[in-house]
């Protein structure tokens, strides 16, 4: 176990101690918890110098060595970038939650345990080199996210949101598991690094596409890509620190991480390029379009997160083209898109975290998140407004904020996508910049809604649930201020993080040498700048005319939304399975018997025919005597009497007749012991049948003609025919010589002249022992059934 292992496992360790210290604390639990992410963050910072030089750190810890499953950590630029975001935003979120979550009213120990579980899982996920460990932690993030969304479990909507997130992300997680297993079978290793080294074998495998698609389903569900994005808006029922942390900065980026991590393996193939960039663009467009119509601030941010994740995803898709080219220049050309993706990933974590915290403050201070009720908060909450300004303008992509830089780079990447000419469907790439531009216009609009609606205009106190609205406490403001400062700082010194974080991460994503990129804030009057100006102009125009064109949302009715498709799908699935189960689980034993018989003879006949087994050999049969014929005729007659009689007592007696004729059969076939036993047993069972008959309740004593069903007839005939064929086939094909010669030595071996008895008590005494045990149990069963009946209930 290395120090890095300790860092990753530290949140889990901390979880163990929280319940013990929780009750004894007088201060807010968060003050203790905050040291965990802070410590991790500081230690991760110490990795920067060595990793920015292009080194990596690999450590292994045995977990299940016999199966080749080890907790292998691989710390490179990508893992470090994510690790810093997770621990850094984690620290700020914990600080924020100290002021957001009430010490006395909330179950804080639960909150922080779930949060730390999530943090540890996420840290391990991004550093794991072993695909199965990665999957384990992936599911742990799903589970802890489920717990966090339903933190206020007494609310119905929280539970519904948590359930939906769980179903969708676990569905994706399982698909991903299948994909990862396929991948590790192809590559014959669990290590991602070794898979990258053996990428040639993987690309040639016929299972390449299934693995690719399955893994992408995992990534898309986790990162709320279209059409799996529906869980994210519902996850907003979680406490705001959770939304800020999980559903903007970290967990939703796990899918992004997976795509980036798998890019060296799958990148360069057309499927990967089209799926990742295409779905990314669709998500971008869908999210930004839907965000505009939201009236709840958190829902707006949720859709904006979906949209921004789509943006990053589409850049990763375009950037994967870099792996198609071996020539350095073209590779660098597309690698820039990957670089932009990583840059925007970082920027999004900063400004989206800040924006969620701002929304949390507004909610906390005014009691509502509905933009129709809010307004005029600028004067009351100047600090909150400033952060919101920074955050939303950064998201809209305006200078002087970091979003401007990454948005420009996004346009560059999309424009370069039009020059992709190695995959078929070239014409489609020319749509990329258009979609990107339109989506940016919508992004601009919702960013302005976020900024203008709550803060500008008139304050209408009567609409607010809380009496006196005032600025948030300073502790609640510090984390968003830090993030806001970071947003501005990155704009002015982008190359600081570019050099130390993004270029190593790019190197890890591409797993190939490319020259380090520089981020330039001002790059002349290029197409990108004109596009940004166009976004601002059209965005402002549309924003001010928003009432005129919101009518277009009515074109898309709610019934056609993916959410209602999902809900009705779930409902239908439940209904259909209930009706299916109701249809065959009738509770009627006759039906179950029918299933059993049908399956039995079907399997037997299919096996017989399938293995070409129907052949008869009567050469070894003995002669049929007149007695045999007589007995068979008598038995058939008695059997048919049992079947066809309308009288119950006739059935019992004729069944007894069958038994006694059987005794004769045993006599003829020279089995005296069997004959004796059969006779006594038959007498006993017939007596018992008569007893049952005698005790049948008077009311239900209907001597009616047996309900004759055609299906029953057919099935019974088929069963009879099948069994007859089986018996005839089996007797004609004796594979081994019988072992009866051994038993003929009964006198020498067991001192008994009666072979049957020698077999029963000596050679196979074990069977007899268990049979008398069965008999004994049956006797005790009858005794208890009769004696231990509940008193006073004589009707049954």
């Amino acid at each position: 176990m290395s120090f890095l292992h300790f860092l990753i496992l530290l949140p889990f360790l901390a979880c163990i101690f929280i319940p013990f210290i929780y009750k004894k604390l007088n201060i807010h639990l968060g003050w203790i918890v905050v040291f965990v992410p802070l410590f991790i963050f500081i230690n991760y910072l110490l990795f920067i110098p060595s990793i920015s030089k292009g080194n990596y750190h690999a450590f292994s810890m045995p977990w299940i060595p016999s199966l080749g499953i080890n907790f292998d950590i691989y710390m490179d630029g990508l893992a470090l970038l994510f690790g810093l975001i997770i621990s850094g935003v984690g620290t700020l979120v914990v600080v924020y939650s100290i002021f957001y979550m009430d010490k006395n009213r909330e179950a804080l120990h639960n909150f922080y345990i779930y949060l730390l579980l999530f943090m540890g899982a996420m840290l391990g996920l991004v550093s794991s080199d072993h695909v199965l460990v990665l999957y384990t932690l992936w599911e742990l993030t799903s589970v802890s996210s489920f717990l966090l969304i339903a933190y206020w479990y007494e609310r119905k909507k929280s539970r519904a949101g948590a359930l939906k997130a769980m179903i969708i992300t676990v569905f994706g997680g399982l698909a991903m598991l299948a994909g990862l297993i396929i991948l590790s079978i192809i590559a014959d290793t669990y290590s991602i690094r070794e898979m990258i080294a053996n990428v040639g074998i993987i690309k040639e495998s016929s299972l390449f596409i299934p693995a690719l698609i399955l893994i992408l389903i995992g990534a898309f569900t986790k990162s709320a890509q279209f059409p799996f994005s529906i869980w994210l808006p519902d996850a907003m029922e979680a406490p705001t620190p959770v939304s800020a942390y999980l559903h903007s900065a970290t967990m939703v980026k796990a899918g992004i991480y997976l795509v980036a991590r798998m890019t060296p393996i799958f990148g360069g193939s057309a499927t990967w390029f089209w799926l990742v960039s295409g779905i990314g663009l669709v998500t971008l467009m869908y999210g930004s379009f839907r965000a505009v119509r939201q009236t709840d601030l958190k829902a707006l941010l949720a859709f904006s997160t979906i949209s921004q994740l789509g943006l990053i995803m589409s850049l990763l898709g375009v950037g994967s083209a870099a792996l198609y080219y071996t020539n350095g220049e073209a590779q660098t050309f597309y690698a820039f898109a990957l670089f932009a993706a990583l840059f925007h990933l970082f920027n999004h974590a900063t400004f989206k975290g800040a924006l969620f915290m701002v929304v949390g403050i507004i909610d906390h201070e005014t009691g509502t998140r509905d933009i129709r009720r809010l307004g005029g908060l600028m004067a009351i909450m100047p600090a909150t407004f400033t952060i919101a300004l920074i955050g939303s303008l950064a998201m809209a992509g305006l200078p002087p904020f970091n979003g401007f830089l990454s948005k420009e780079m996004f346009f560059t990447g999309m424009l370069r996508a039009t020059e992709v000419n190695m995959f078929s469907l070239e014409w489609l790439t020319s749509i990329f910049p258009v979609v990107a531009w339109v989506a940016s216009v919508f992004t601009f609009i919702y960013c302005f809604i976020l900024l203008v609606k709550p803060f500008l205009g008139e304050l209408n106190q009567s609409r607010l649930p809380k009496e006196k609205v005032h600025e948030a406490p300073i502790g609640m403001l510090i984390p968003p201020i830090i993030l806001g400062l970071l947003v501005v700082f990155v704009f002015f010194f982008p190359n600081l993080i570019g050099k130390y974080l993004l270029n190593p991460a790019l190197y890890a994503t591409l797993s190939a040498e490319v020259p380090a990129f520089e981020i330039i804030a001002w790059h002349g009057f290029g197409t990108e700048l004109w596009m940004t100006i166009g976004v601002i102009v059209f965005g402002l125009l549309l924003f001010f005319s928003i009432k005129r064109w919101t009518i277009i949302f009515r074109v898309f009715p709610d019934q056609l939304s993916i959410n209602s498709l999902y809900m009705s799908g779930l409902e239908n699935m439940e209904k259909k399975s209930v009706s299916l189960t109701d249809r065959y689980m009738t509770g009627n034993i006759r039906h179950y018997l029918l299933y059993i018989f049908i399956v039995t003879f079907s399997v037997l006949i299919i096996a017989l025919v399938g293995f070409d087994g129907i052949s008869f050999d009567f050469s070894t049969n003995s002669y049929i005597t007149i007695y045999d014929i007589g007995i068979v005729i008598a038995m058939v007659a008695a059997a048919f009497t049992t079947l066809l009689t309308t009288n119950r007592i006739t059935a019992i007696v004729s069944l007894g007749a069958v038994g006694y004729i059987m005794v004769m059969l045993f006599v003829i076939f020279r089995a005296p012991d069997l004959a004796l036993t059969q006779m006594v047993v038959e007498t006993a069972t017939t007596a018992l049948f008569l007893l049952c008959f005698y005790h049948l309740p008077k009311l239900g004593k209907r001597i009616e003609k047996m309900k004759f069903k055609l299906t029953n007839l057919i099935v019974s005939i088929l069963v009879g025919v099948t069994v007859t064929i089986m018996t005839l086939v089996a007797t004609g094909h004796r594979l081994f010589t019988p072992i009866n010669e051994f038993f003929e030595n009964a006198y020498e071996l067991a001192g008994a002249k009666n072979i049957v008895n020698a077999i029963l008590v000596d050679f196979r005494g074990f069977d007899t022992m268990l049979e008398i045990a069965v008999l004994f149990i049956a006797g005790i069963g009858v005794y208890t059934l009769i004696k231990l009946r509940p008193k006073g209930d004589d009707s049954q």
């Binding site: 006993a684 001192g751 009666n754 006797g779 005790i780 009858v782 009769i786 004589d794």
Partner: protein, 143 residues
């Protein structure tokens, strides 16, 4: 209660027949080693004899004269069968390995004695016990 009919003939015949049935069943039991018969059928015929007694007399008087708990009898039978199996293990044999030998006994002369007979005793006791338990518990049941 209905006045009881005077079943003198039935009682007399039963007393005679029961002795014959019990003798026959013991014969079946002992014959089992060399001739048709054995523990199972021997037990069943004994049970049939007891049932005949129950039929012609009433349950209370038979219980009084044959004070046997048939549930315990069945359990003892199963236990005997298991222990005869275990006994062989003390001599290093396998479970349920039977043995036999010829001994010169004072009255019977040279006689074959086999452990399998002990096992058969278990079988017979289990069969008698179970059969009578079932029949008496059903017949005692008030419906």
């Amino acid at each position: 209660m209905k006045p009881k009919a005077n079943d003198v003939i039935l009682h007399t015949v039963t007393k005679l027949a029961a002795i014959i049935i019990f003798t026959f069943s013991i014969d079946l039991f002992w014959a089992g080693h060399h001739f048709p018969g054995g523990g199972f059928i021997g037990g069943l015929t004994t049970a049939a004899g007891i049932v005949l007694l129950y039929l012609s007399f009433d349950i209370e008087s038979i219980q009084r004269n044959l004070p046997i708990d048939y549930k315990k009898m069945a359990a003892i039978g199963v236990l005997i069968a298991v222990f005869t199996g275990l006994a062989g293990m003390f001599y290093g044999d396998n479970f349920l390995e039977q043995t036999f030998g010829y001994f010169d006994l004072p009255v019977f002369g040279e006689t074959e004695l086999a452990t399998a007979v002990l096992f058969d005793v278990g079988v017979a006791l289990a069969v008698i016990g179970t059969a009578i338990t079932i029949i008496t518990s059903i017949s005692e049941d008030e419906l």
